[in-house]
Amino acid sequence: MKELLDDLDRWRSAGTRVALARVVDVEGSGPRGPGAAMAVSLKGEVVGSVSGGCVEGAVVTEALSLLHGEREAGMVTFGYSDDEAFAVGLTCGGTIRLFIEEFNW
């Protein structure tokens, strides 16, 4: 998250709403470990990354739906381990779990 701090500051002082997605768990093969993070502003600006580029697009969609009030803060899973498997997978075959929340704390 360190690499996000300057942008988070900038958005906060501009009053821009931001969603924060952090990797909290990686199963099997995964490119980035717990703590890898990305942030998405309401305007659709993106900083950081949570995988090797496999799921970032889908995270932006989740982030925007959070900021638009269409979903609550909570977990998002990418991969094929459970029945909740998303359409988007990781090329390396692993599963990553993200926690997504509004950065307003």
Binding site: R22, G33, P34, A73, G74, M75, C92, G93, G94, W105
Partner: protein, 267 residues
């Protein structure tokens, strides 16, 4: 100061801090900020849960680990206590201070090694007793350059070295190498690499024995000659060889080619 402002200040200054976040169960999105030696900030929603997570978070931070822990609503942790109660899943994210690399010897290889170490996130200390070689101008990428012998540096702060840290001894000079090796062996440092040919290595073992260092558990800790066999020639290639060994040493991997193996790459 908001919780995230406090977090950002600690992360920027490289001071240890952990953030606990409820990710599933009652109170999703609640945060607790954990700072060694200070009161926690925020709450996960229950004072007993806060107390237990604070304790666990400090331990995770000490180990430099991040991960998910499961509790009962009041911080219960034993399986019997958790049976039949709704659980709260908490993600503890640790920001530990950067690992340290101490490089002894201000030689050609030192600048290249310091540069690669910086890319990997190390705080780099360069130490040499020769004033004309150990200068900040020659090693602008180092966080600190010390003109002194190894022993005072180890006496002063050897106890700050831990499993994530590395000591690289590049001097090839016994009167510098031997005290540096002895100093490093007296710490908990995770990696000790010593440069030199195989002949130098053999002679070094004799000198270490004369200095009273001959125990196999000590000598087993020495990566000497330093580095992986990449056929590295230049200082930059040698730096990659050394840093690759440090990574493999930490992860316990064999550093063989991935295409020759099977199973997951990140087990």
């Amino acid at each position: 100061m908001t919780l995230s402002n406090n977090l950002a200040a600690r992360v920027r200054s490289g001071d240890p801090v952990a953030l606990a976040t409820v990710i599933e169960g009652e109170g999703v999105g609640n945060h607790l900020l954990i700072i060694p030696g200070a009161d926690a900030q925020g709450s996960l929603g229950d004072p007993d849960l806060d107390r237990v997570v604070h304790r666990d978070g400090l331990a995770e931070l000490e180990a430099g680990r991040s991960g998910i822990r499961t509790y009962g609503p009041q911080g219960q942790t034993t399986p019997e206590d958790l049976e039949g109660t709704p659980t709260v899943r908490v993600f503890v994210e640790s920001w530990a201070p950067p690992p340290q690399m101490w490089i002894f010897g201000a030689v050609d290889f030192t600048a290249a090694l310091a540069r690669v170490a910086k890319i990997l996130g190390y705080r780099v200390l360069v130490c040499d007793a020769r004033e004309i070689f150990a200068t900040g101008r020659r090693f602008p990428m180092a966080d600190e350059v010390r003109v002194t012998w190894p022993t005072p540096v180890f006496d002063e702060r050897g106890e700050t070295l831990g499993p994530r840290d590395a000591v690289c001894i590049l001097t090839h000079d016994p009167k510098f190498d031997i005290p540096a090796i002895a100093g490093a062996l007296a710490t908990r440092v995770g990696y000790i690499g010593v440069m030199g040919s195989r002949t130098t290595h053999e002679r070094r073992l004799e000198r270490l024995a004369e200095a009273g260092i001959a125990e196999s558990q000590d000598l087993d800790r020495l990566m000497s000659p330093i580095g992986l066999d990449l056929g590295a020639r230049t200082p930059e290639e040698t730096a990659i060889s050394i840093c690759s060994e440090i990574i493999a040493n930490r992860t316990g991997r064999t550093a063989s080619q991935l295409r020759g193996g099977s199973g997951p790459i990140h087990p």
